[in-house]
């Protein structure tokens, strides 16, 4: 979870430090890469189509030509299913529930991790007392808790949020803990010499340092909040994309299962994109590798 290159930059001046400017050469190759990305995706779908369309190629593994379709679904059917979901509007409720669960789990897990991480990092007694329990809870395969939460909190949103929180919490907690421990003693002493009280140290030194570590784990924690929501839904719920997938699986509707997986993947990508944008805005002070301009 640690990120490389967090050490302070070397002494060399970084004139301009205009790291956001892209080289013209780079942009061109980016366009090409994007083209290949699309090509690869198209190729995969084509492969999927060719392998599963009944009668298109002579059977070589399954005796029955419709068997491949049964096991792997068909891309056209999958796309059609997604289209009906979005065009008919039936998916929005489920997607909304999943996203709300994700956001709540992320927000609550982050808040708890931040508070507890700060507290334990700053209080040696509490930290040494809690240490084995934190370690044990982190080592425990927490997915197994999902059914218990379903029993405790019912099949609604709560059980998924609680489950997601248990996943997110530890990521944030360990990062905050690390962040506080990594505060440079010189920066700390300097802030004290500048007159910072204990409270101000917490607010202006420990917290910014810790949050920077939280941001660096943002991708992981948002991703895990999403996993928590979906797995929770899958194990027992009445709404959500995980629920849709579970239902479809129950009647061997593989096309719908794949459609659900694709929708989830797209959602995860969009979340990740948003996180990247937020991260870029909040961590402007981070040293990045200097980029020279090609003339």
């Amino acid at each position: 979870m640690q990120e490389a290159g967090r050490t302070s930059a070397d002494d060399s001046p970084v004139p301009g430090a205009a790291t956001s400017t892209r080289r013209p050469g780079q942009r061109a190759s980016r366009g090409r890469i994007a083209f290949y990305h699309v090509l690869l995706l198209g190729g995969l779908f084509l492969f999927w189509y060719v392998m599963t369309e009944p009668g298109l190629i002579p059977p070589f593994y399954f005796d029955d030509p419709t068997r491949a379709k049964f096991f792997f679904g068909q891309p056209i059917e999958v796309v059609k299913r997604i289209w009906t979901w979005f065009a008919g509007g039936s998916i929005y409720l489920h997607l909304g529930v999943t996203l709300i669960e994700t956001l709540l789990a992320f927000a609550i897990g982050t808040a708890l991790g931040l508070v507890l991480g700060l507290w334990l990092a700053l209080s040696p007694t509490a930290s040494s007392l809690a240490d084995p329990y934190i370690k044990a809870m982190n080592a425990m395969p927490r997915v197994i808790l999902a059914p218990i939460f379903a029993v405790w909190f019912g099949l609604g949103i709560t059980s998924k949020v609680v489950f997601g929180v248990t996943l997110v919490f530890f990521i944030v907690f360990f990062n905050v803990y690390q962040g506080v421990k990594e505060v440079s003693p010189v920066v700390l002493a300097n802030a004290r010499m500048l007159g910072a009280t204990g409270r101000q140290l917490l607010r202006y030194v420990y917290l910014p340092s810790a949050t920077s570590w939280v941001f660096s784990s943002l991708h992981t924690s948002v991703g895990l909040a999403f996993v928590g929501a979906v797995v929770g839904e899958y194990l027992g719920s009445a709404k959500g994309v995980g629920y849709l997938i579970h239902q479809a699986e129950g009647v061997f509707d593989i096309d719908t299962v794949f459609a659900g997986i694709l929708v989830l993947t797209m959602c995860a990508l969009i979340l990740d994109f948003i996180v990247t944008r937020i991260e870029g805005r909040l961590l402007v002070w981070r040293p990045r590798a200097a980029e020279t301009e090609r003339l």
């Binding site: 010499m193 500048l194 202006y204």
Partner: protein
Amino acid sequence: MSTPALLLDRVTCAFASRERQGDRYTAVKDTTLAVGSGEFVSVVGPTGCGKSTLLNVAAGLLQPSSGDVRVLGQPLLGINRHSGYMFQAESLMPWRNALDNVIAGLQFAGVERGESKSRAQQWLGRVGLSGFEERYPHELSGGMRKRVALAQMLILDPEIMLMDEPFSALDIQTRQLMENELLDLWSADRKSVLFITHDLEEAIALSDRVIVLSAGPATRPIGEFAIDLPRPRDVNEIRLTPRFVELHTQIWHAMKDEVLKGYARSRKN
């Protein structure tokens, strides 16, 4: 003599050894040191002799094992609120830009944001960094970061400036520039300065008085030299004057044995 701005009275600092229990490492022993009001005092000594320890005691960041610290005649309790501290290592908050770093002290003191901002801008101008307000520390060169740290300290108008080899990480040209700038700023409103360095030339060029420390452990002052070079000085030119060379020879003679001792000790370990 009037009350010194800063007085370390028979200060001893001993640290419990981390490797062997019960073992004790005495960094500083029975050191008495005074900085008069408006006086620029440098402390030189071989590496690892406990110079920084002494400064941390003066800053109130470290409690001496025994002995007293007096600031403007008052015994020091906790952090030394009358002093600013310039560290050897990077001390700026990396998540704040230059302006916000300079503001920090005023912010902690509860000064209104608009006012502190304009004062910080003035100070950045005074250390030659106008136009660099929005830069983050990693976007500044080493010398610029030192200037920000200097402005950050001076904006609080401390009566005493404690400086721990502040320019030792800089290249020689930048360093001489910074030394001249420091002298300019200092001569504007003569603060009391306790300047730690291992560089004898720097010490002589800047100071009114140079104190030589013995090699550690159990460091103590072994010599004190008044520097009677005329002010204002230019650190480049002053190095070439006969009186400078004379003082240098004299102090170096007193230091040499200690430096060799410190060197031998560091080779043994």
